[in-house]
């Protein structure tokens, strides 16, 4: 970089994701805390809805493109777009440019947004240089690598590195942490029996790790794993990794009552 580092705090537009918005606002607040602790100014545009992935992956390119345009319009003014999800973040970063590539103007705007869009945890470590968090969690956790985060966004070491700095926390790796949990967005309702067979293997691996909490960076996967663990009567909690890193584990775990 040839420019002098800006003295101004980076202005982050937080794309909460539709699942966090509807099911678990706490992840959004955890993201805000982590970003503010790292020196960012955070805004949450009110006009955000969804990244459009359900339409995109269902073959509905036209609706996906229309949704992408509303996301671009809502977020392109910020220095960075940060997403507490590798999957939704991946849609914006890896797929918007191709989705809008045929349109010269929107294609360029999609490229520009892609360049400044990041998944939350990797943004903290790789862009802001955060090496440690000040949080406490008394318990053992196992971390599930959500597919898009791992394979599209390269998120693997970053969450584990930050978790190592949480006081009182022990990491117990599960077998096949990098294997899909069977959520797959619309897949889990289009092919419920297949999805179930896959998540059963995942909860088996989670239980075998001996950890008392499973963490991940994507709420879709977490809802899938939490729902299966609860249906099986396993006393293992599920949380978004940001909740633990932000020290905001006083809220009930996913699917638990207050």
């Amino acid at each position: 970089m040839t420019d002098k580092p800006s003295q101004k705090a980076p202005h982050v537009g937080l794309f909460a994701t539709c699942l966090v918005d509807l099911f678990r606002p706490g992840v959004g607040f955890a993201a805000i805390k982590l970003l503010e602790d790292a020196g960012c100014t955070v805004s949450v545009p009110q006009s955000q809805t969804c990244c459009g992935q359900p339409a995109y992956n269902s073959g509905d390119r036209r609706d996906a493109a229309a949704i992408a345009k509303t996301v671009i319009a809502a977020f392109e003014a910020y220095d960075f777009v940060v997403v507490p999800s590798g999957s939704c973040g991946g849609t914006i970063k890896k797929h918007y440019p191709g989705l809008l590539g045929d349109d010269r103007e929107w294609g360029a705007r999609a490229e520009a947004l892609s360049a400044k869009t990041h998944e939350l945890i990797s943004f903290l470590t790789d862009i802001l240089g955060v090496a440690a968090v000040s949080a406490r969690f008394d318990g053992s956790v196992t971390y599930h690598d959500s597919c898009s985060g791992l394979r599209e966004m390269g998120i693997e070491a970053q969450p584990r590195a930050l978790l190592e700095t949480v006081d009182g926390l022990t990491i117990r790796e599960m077998a096949d942490a990098d294997v899909c949990c069977g959520f797959g967005g619309t897949f889990c309702v289009k092919y419920p029996e297949l999805s179930n067979a896959i998540v059963e293997k995942k909860t088996e691996a989670i239980a075998a790790s001996g950890a008392d909490t499973v963490l991940a960076g994507d709420l879709g996967c977490l809802m899938n794993m939490a729902g299966k663990l609860q249906r099986q009567g396993r006393p293992i909690k599920a949380r978004h990794v940001a909740e633990v890193l932000a020290g905001m584990t006083d809220m009930p775990a996913i699917g638990e009552s207050e």
Binding site: F23, P25, Q46, R151, F187, S195, N196, I198
Partner: protein, 471 residues
């Protein structure tokens, strides 16, 4: 084989409750994944080799017409006869004609997925010619009247006990008290039975992993050596291969073989890599008198240059299915086409039609593990998504799904409406689920709640809570 892809959901359901199959599938994970990981880790330049392999195929596909013609010229010069087949029907007719002229009663076969694609076994049998599969896995499934369930390990869906039972059922000329408890004794028995078949066959048919344009050579890789006996012993050798198997040079083959064996079976090199160029020459100790190559298109030229072009790089290693969570759950037969797993989900709609195979590209979580191990770097999830787009454009997706998606997409494009409706829906659901924190059942969410609880939504959305805070 008979295409049953339209019944994918029922097939999958049956597979999930098939205990033999589920036991057999455990070996896929242990057998293939770890072996591949080990040899890949031992070769620092593996990723560079993948790039080189991809570039070879990309270059070839750019000039496919040229290399196919060069291949034909070289193969003809070596004394071979090249036949062009536009459709599976054309290929069947050509092969039958060659067999009839040779007066063939039985033909031995090396493992060939293209032969499954054109359903040659049933066709030959209907015409009074007995096809005998000589690859151990293919031999086993032929005894059972089943199609392959995996492109390189056709009988991977079976347990050893099932194979033993089949051998006892069919090989009634052997001592009933013989010991078949070990895999090696099963292998020895199959070898003994097949030995006579090899010697009796009038025609031997193999596939081709590669056709080499500079020399007119066909290349097969096997771990059993059955391919060699198939193509060397009978009087006539027929190679059946599809157009994208051609590569420019022997040097290119050596690069591709290095990624193929590692990706497929986790071997540094497959045990037998057999190169055949033309029929027996004067002075050769063995080899066929006639050498025919049937080159099949069957819809592939239509893929050249369209959104499925990348799929033509596939070298049929099977790594994508070996790493696919859906394949692990149900095995290959549920797909209902010869090509299964992620590569099948892309190829089958192109070869057999989207109406037949639309389920396959949908039955993926898009986890991307297939793409991450594909030696040819084929973007399989992207190509599956392209099929979903075609399906959507043609209105083939179920009406309820399209309608639901349409309503949701409309709201997602209108943030104020979206806010209002989610506020109402989530408010009510959140209130209902507040006490337990989750639902065990919920109207319209049966697909989810049949197998897992659904976490209750928040009674107030994140965006609304932010607005409250800012006001």
């Amino acid at each position: 084989m008979r295409i049953t892809a339209p019944a994918f959901k029922e097939n999958a359901q049956n597979a999930l409750t098939d205990l033999h199959l589920q036991r057999a599938l455990e070996h896929v994970e242990a057998g293939f994944i770890h072996k591949r990981a080990k040899v890949v880790a031992a070769l620092p330049e593996f990723d560079a080799l993948r790039d080189a392999a991809r570039d070879i195929k990309n270059h070839t596909l750019e000039h496919l017409d040229l290399y196919l013609e060069a291949y034909e010229k070289a193969a003809t010069k070596a004394g071979g006869q090249v036949h062009w087949a536009e459709t599976g029907g054309d290929a069947r007719a050509i092969i039958l004609d060659i067999c009839r002229k040779a007066g063939a009663k039985t033909i031995t076969k090396g493992k060939s997925m293209v032969s499954e694609e054109i359903n040659i076994n049933d066709f030959l049998a209907e015409n009074g010619i007995e096809p005998v599969e000589t690859d151990l896995g293919e031999y086993i499934i032929q005894l059972r009247g089943e199609p392959p369930s995996h492109i390189i390990a056709p009988a991977v869906h079976l347990t050893k006990d099932q194979v033993e039972a089949d051998f006892r059922r069919v090989h009634t000329h052997l001592d009933a008290a013989r010991d078949l408890s070990e895999s090696t004794s099963l292998l020895a028995e199959a070898r003994g039975v097949l030995r006579d078949k090899f010697l009796a066959a009038d025609v031997g048919m193999t596939g081709a992993n590669f056709l080499v344009a500079e020399t007119g050579t066909s290349v097969i890789v096997t771990n059993e050596g059955n391919g060699d006996l198939t193509q060397v012993l009978p009087r006539v050798h027929i190679v059946i291969a599809s157009i994208e198997k051609v590569v420019p040079t022997l040097e290119d083959v050596s690069t591709l073989l290095r990624v193929l064996a590692r990706s497929a079976t986790g071997q540094d090199m497959t045990v037998y890599n057999t190169f055949s160029t033309g029929p027996r020459r004067p002075g050769d100790p063995d080899g066929p008198e006639e050498y025919h190559v049937v080159i099949l298109d069957n819809g592939r030229t239509a893929m050249l240059g369209n959104e499925f072009h990348d799929m033509l790089r596939c070298i049929r290693c099977g790594a994508c299915m070996n790493h696919c969570p859906v394949y692990h759950a149900i095995g290959g037969h549920a797909y209902g086409t010869p090509y299964v797993g992620p590569m099948g989900a892309v190829l089958a709609p192109a070869l057999f039609g989207l109406d037949e195979a639309a389920n396959l590209p949908n039955a993926s979580t898009f986890c991307g593990r297939c793409e991450s191990v594909c030696p040819m770097r084929i973007p399989l999830p992207k190509l599956m998504r392209h099929w979903r787009e075609k399906e959507f454009e043609r209105g083939l997706a179920p009406a309820t799904q399209r309608w639901g998606l349409g309503v949701w997409a409309y709201f997602a494009q209108h943030p104020r409406l979206y806010r209002l409706s989610t506020r109402l829906a989530i408010g009510a659901l959140g209130w209902l689920g507040k006490k337990k924190g989750r639902f065990r059942a919920l109207p319209l969410a049966g697909g989810w709640t049949r197998h897992r609880d659904l976490p209750a939504p928040s009674s107030r959305t994140f965006i609304d809570q932010i607005r409250d805070r800012e006001q």
